[in-house]
């Protein structure tokens, strides 16, 4: 059994947005203009110290969204992936207040309607109660690469291999090797 995690190596992220587009490409059936499950955030833009990080749902171990959801739509797979049931979502937006990463998205089209059902990164694992790879799953949640034995598209297509996804142990092994190779005293996060 694995514990699935994302990690973005900020020393390698070049803000190319490959991950954002990879996600759109792979999950296009469930997404529309304006909804980006993944974003690249840059600090100190245009100045020395500029650094970027790719952010989506982090599939927290103790996920705040799960705690606050009044409709109890969240569930966690045995691989540690946090999924949400769109059928039961009431679009209240509490999860957004709770989420430290701004992951939940609300795709409602009309100006005066509600927020619509919450949408977020599924770790390319589809929905909690749809058949893997089915048309219904594609339309509601997008791809289910996990069921096909593949990892999330964003990390797989990352231009510089900054964004890593997979079992937490393996992700830390890869990152640990990089840090050792770089010989940075501050684990590669400082100059």
């Amino acid at each position: 059994m694995a514990t699935m995690k994302f990690m973005c190596d900020t020393k390698r992220c070049i803000e190319c947005n490959g991950c954002v587009v990879a996600c759109k490409n792979e999950n296009e059936t469930a997404l529309e203009w304006g909804i980006q499950r993944r974003r690249v955030v840059t600090i100190n833009d245009g100045q020395p110290g500029e650094a970027s990080i790719s952010v989506a749902c982090m599939h927290c171990d103790d996920a705040p969204c799960m705690k606050v959801c009044p409709a109890n739509v969240f569930s966690k797979t045995e691989d540690g992936i946090v999924l949400h049931d769109k059928d039961r979502c009431i679009g209240c937006g509490y999860c957004l207040y709770a989420c430290p990463f701004g992951a939940p998205q609300f795709p409602k089209k009309s100006a005066f309607g509600g927020k619509g059902k919450m949408d977020k990164c599924t770790f390319c694992a589809g929905g909690p109660n749809t058949e893997a790879g089915s048309a219904e799953e594609k339309a509601k949640y997008g791809a289910n690469r996990i069921a096909e034995g593949k990892l999330p598209m964003c990390a797989e297509l990352c231009a510089t291999k900054a964004l890593l996804a997979g079992d937490a142990g393996m992700v830390s092994d890869i990152y640990r090797e990089r840090v050792v190779g770089r010989g940075h005293p501050a684990a590669g996060w400082e100059k």
């Binding site: 070049i14 803000e15 947005n17 490959g18 587009v21 203009w33 955030v41 009309s110 927020k115 770089r182």
Partner: protein, 952 residues
């Protein structure tokens, strides 16, 4: 009311200013809600639905990304003829599965509903659907009519770096068969100055090493290059080198996204590359850091460089470039202490009136440091489009035939032999008269950068019979050319405009005409097959992913139909099979490989290239070589020169001029291209040659005479002798001369020194000249530009413009320096990438970067609408991005936008009931950019002009 979907922003305010978040928060095109309603109902969804419903067995095709020239591999999943999925090619030697935004969104290009779906024609102000037959017949008839009255030179063949090698070759050949050199493509405005400057330094004008080899560098000097946005996957290799201890120095006026990963940033004033590099060399010579042994053996003319560098004292360099003397010293010292180092440049260096000098001075820096011909060294010149290297190799240029043979009579004779056509027949297609003392067949044509001058200029000043009257825009976005107001006037004045492209492009919409515009839907590269050369000279094969979409057709088929209509198809395809109106890519490759001896294409064959593409995983990502398997010992993509015949299995040459290898294993030395002596001084190499060469000293290029002198003539077979008599290695179609040279482990092209002096250029050594539109009038007297001159067919202005800047006080009226560059989400003119909603969503506004000091002086706040006016009066209405990324007094714009001119939106036609207008349109930076061309190549100046900005 516009709703702003702030909820999904990741606390942008708290984290600081980000370009992208700034844009999403700025005005109407805010992400999510507002944008979705702005798009109209279901446009995006409709296109997506087509793919969602596809099912059935999955077929996997191998293709190559169609954007930059890194050449990333892609696995395309196809179901029922629809491209439904993209899987990472982890085993691909260049990208290891990685993609930037553009590569990650490739799949959309095949089914974009923004494409032109059938041939169309503008008639009486209305767009009308045509059949292919009618469209070809009307265009072909018009061509013939123009030929009768104005001669063949009044038809312009604008081509594309998106062509496969085969299409690029056949397009050049089509122009040749038509009888004109008025054929060119975007390499003119990309790396033409590199090709000219670098080839004239050491023989070939291409990237000398490879992307993967950058991993071996100890020092990486990027000047005028921003791979984090322009070649993102190259950063994989650059950052790997960094993690292994290499240091990165970025010379760029802006603090670019690449500079953000650098150890040292040298913010030079636009247009002062030559002083900066001489400044580096001042320290190198002063401290004796040059590689004396390398220079003595392999470099000619360094003394002149040493003299010039002496003039560029730290004080003068600081004064002219604006870079502090301490920073220049530190960078020079670092380069000296960390070898091998590589130099990387792109359009920041090439797109200048001094572009040929820039590319030579970068090369000379590497020669002085002894960094050439070694792993981890070299000049890694990143080409811009996926096949701009290939299209350049194929001579899709106004001054070349395939393989850089030029357009002199000898070149035409060589190619006539390859085509198996009588030279007189080929010649007979050209205008036989002379104009301004020039012969059309042997005079370079109209450049891509200035075709509009060929339309608008007084015809008595042109070195051809008449103005251009009909132009093909075959895969080229004309909004990438400066002086957009003139471009628009030229589109109006042409009698017929023919756009051959998946999209209408700006040539199809920027004019103010009601008749005489044709849109012919070309298929994308994913809808056909063929080969493509990456920047590192490696060739890759693209399998056909899907059939041509809608009613579009493959480029080769469109060309064939046209050739047939104008009666040149038989000559054009004499030795090439034509199946269903489409010339066979395999046969085409065999033909050009046979002819392109000068750059060693003869070792290529469709079979070999496909064997590489079908076995990506066999090649090491470290060395690019296959340790085993069917391609054992070969370098991925058989980087040219790949000598001999395919059967001889030359592995390709990953690193040019590398003497520590045998030529048969990819070794070499600098090319003897410029004779054997100059002013009585030998320019051949001195006690140096590639490994195992039988003559370990300089030697001239091989020809029949040299073989006889060396006593090796009888090593040729009788058959070979017949073909080799009177020929050189590059024109001997039997290949015997090359075979014998290789048997003696000697490189066929000779062994000379690289030269620092190019006595045939306007400036013999790289010489600083202030930009035409300089903000430093005090420097003009000391560093003036050239006098005005005639370059090939066109008069070209230099001094008269610089004089006007002073007399009309243009530098005071337009006090801000302006440069342009790339965004990662878009490519080139941007019509295709702005028509991809996955990309368009990420960059919704055309903008200018302006320093907070200049913005505050003008009362401009971040996100304001501003008018930017260029020094020739072109005005554009865009957003201001206030950022310290640019220094005070400098501004920067992306060049991918179009569809708005002087604040007014252009009208795009509907095709099959859907507007072809891209999801995002904006003002073209080039509406504000100005006159200025390199005297050698007619490269346009896009990196050093002047502007003024005011709040709108």
């Amino acid at each position: 009311m516009k709703l702003t979907q702030k909820s999904t922003e990741v606390k942008a305010g708290a984290l600081g200013l980000s370009r992208r978040q700034f844009l999403k928060n700025a005005g109407v095109t805010t992400g999510g809600i507002a944008a979705a309603s702005m798009l109209g109902t279901g446009m995006v969804k409709k296109a997506e639905a087509a793919t969602a419903t596809a099912s059935g067995p999955v077929e996997v095709k191998r293709t190559i990304c169609s954007h930059c020239a890194v050449g990333c591999g892609v696995y395309a999943e196809v179901q029922n003829g629809v491209w439904t999925g993209q899987e990472p090619a982890f085993d691909h030697p260049f990208n290891g599965g990685g993609h930037c935004a553009k590569g990650a969104g490739l799949r959309y290009h095949t089914h974009s509903h923004k494409r032109v779906k059938y041939p169309m024609k503008l008639e009486g102000g209305k767009w009308k659907k045509l059949s292919w037959e009618t469209a070809i017949a009307e265009i072909g008839d018009k061509m013939e009519e123009i030929r009768q009255t104005s001669g063949p030179d009044s038809v312009y063949f604008m081509g594309s770096a998106k062509f496969s090698n085969e299409a690029a070759y056949m397009y050049r050949k089509l122009a040749a068969m038509w009888g004109t050199n008025n054929v060119d493509h975007s390499a003119r405005i990309c790396h033409s100055t590199t090709v000219a400057g670098v080839a004239n330094t050491w023989g070939y004008g291409a990237q000398t090493n490879s992307f993967n080899d950058i991993r071996n560098a100890k020092n990486i000097f990027l000047i005028g290059a921003n791979p984090a946005e322009a070649h993102p996957v190259a950063m994989q290799h650059i950052l790997t080198a960094k993690e292994r201890g290499a240091t990165i120095t970025v010379a760029d006026p802006r603090f670019s996204r690449t500079a953000a990963h650098a150890d040292v940033h040298l913010p030079l004033r636009p247009g002062t590359d030559i002083p900066l590099v001489y400044g580096l060399m001042w320290h190198i010579f002063e401290n004796g850091w040059e590689d004396k042994e390398f220079i003595n053996a392999r470099v000619w003319g360094v003394e002149k460089i040493r003299e010039e560098a002496k003039r560029w004292t730290p004080e003068e360099v600081e004064n002219v470039t604006g870079v502090s003397r301490d920073a220049v010293y530190a960078a020079a010292k670092h380069m000296a202490q960390h070898r091998p180092g590589t130099v990387i440049w792109c359009m920041g260096g090439t797109q200048h009136t001094v572009g040929n000098g820039n590319t030579r001075v970068y090369s000379i820096l590497q020669l002085v440091l002894g960094n050439m011909g070694v792993q981890g060294g070299g000049t890694n010149i990143f080409r811009g489009h996926d096949n701009v290297q290939g299209a350049t190799d194929m001579g899709l240029l106004f001054d070349n035939l395939p393989g850089y043979y030029g357009v002199a009579t000898g070149a035409w004779q060589h190619w006539s032999r390859v085509w198996e056509l009588p030279f007189e027949q080929v010649k007979g297609r050209f205008d036989q008269n002379q104009y301004l003392g020039r012969d059309p067949m042997t005079t370079p044509g109209m450049p891509c950068s200035r075709w509009h001058d060929g339309v608008l200029e007084d015809k008595t000043k042109l070195a051809q019979k008449d103005n251009l009257r009909l132009a093909f825009f075959w895969g080229q976005s004309v909004n990438t050319e400066t002086r957009q107001m003139e471009v628009r006037d030229a589109l109006d004045k042409l009698e017929t405009v023919v756009v051959v492209d998946p999209y209408p492009t700006i040539a199809g919409v920027a004019h103010r005409r009601s008749d005489g515009v044709y849109l012919l839907p070309a298929a994308t590269v994913f809808e056909g097959e063929g080969s493509v050369n990456n920047s590192g000279r490696s060739v890759q094969w693209r399998q056909q992913v899907v059939e041509p979409m809608f009613e579009s057709k493959d480029d080769l088929e469109i060309m064939y139909r046209l050739a047939k209509h104008v009666g040149i198809a038989d000559a054009w395809t004499k030795n090439i099979a034509v199946i269903d109106n489409k010339p066979s890519p395999d046969d085409i490759m065999r033909e050009y490989a046979r002819g392109m001896r000068s750059i060693g294409f003869t070792g290529w064959s469709p079979e070999r290239v496909k064997a590489h593409t079908m076995n990506w995983g066999d090649f090491s990502r470290e060395t690019l070589e296959a340790p085993g398997g069917i391609n054992k010992g070969e370098t991925y993509g058989l980087p040219w020169p790949c000598w001999g015949t395919p059967e001889q299995k030359h592995p390709g040459t990953q690193i040019l001029y590398r003497t520590d290898r045998n030529v048969n294993q990819g070794g070499g030395n600098f090319r003897a291209r410029f004779g054997v002596e100059y002013e009585g001084e030998s320019i051949l190499a001195d006690n140096s040659a590639s490994k195992d060469a039988e003559i370990q000293d300089g030697f001239p290029q091989f020809d029949d005479q040299l073989l006889k002198q060396l006593g090796w003539w009888d090593e040729l077979t009788d058959e070979e002798k017949k073909l080799a008599e009177g020929r050189t290695w590059s024109t001997d179609l039997g290949g015997g001369i090359v075979r014998v040279a290789l048997a003696h482990n000697m490189i066929p092209y000779g062994n000379a020194k690289a030269r620092c002096r190019v006595w045939t250029f306007p400036d013999e050594i790289p010489t600083h000249r202030e930009p035409l539109y300089t903000p430093r009038r005090d420097l003009i007297a000391k560093y003036p530009t050239h006098d005005d001159m005639q370059v090939h067919r066109l008069p070209t202005l230099f001094k008269s413009i610089q004089d006007k800047v002073i007399s009309d006080n243009l530098d005071k009226k337009y006090p801000l320096a302006v440069t342009s560059g790339r965004l990662v989400e878009y490519e080139g003119g941007g019509e295709e990438s702005r028509s991809n909603p996955w990309l368009a969503e990420l960059q919704q506004e055309m903008f200018v970067e302006i320093n907070p000091a200049d913005a505050t002086d003008r009362g401009i706040r971040n996100g304001d609408d501003v008018w930017l006016e260029g020094a020739e009066g072109g005005r554009i209405l865009i957003k201001a991005l206030v950022t310290p990324r640019v220094l005070p007094g400098q501004t920067w714009m992306p060049f991918h936008f179009a569809g708005v001119m002087h604040g007014e939106e252009l009208q795009y036609p509907e095709s099959d009931g859907v507007s072809t207008k891209p999801y995002v349109v904006g003002e073209s930076a080039n509406t504000a950019l100005t006159y200025g061309y390199d005297p050698v190549t007619q490269m346009q100046e896009t990196k050093a002009s002047l502007c003024q900005i005011e709040k709108a």
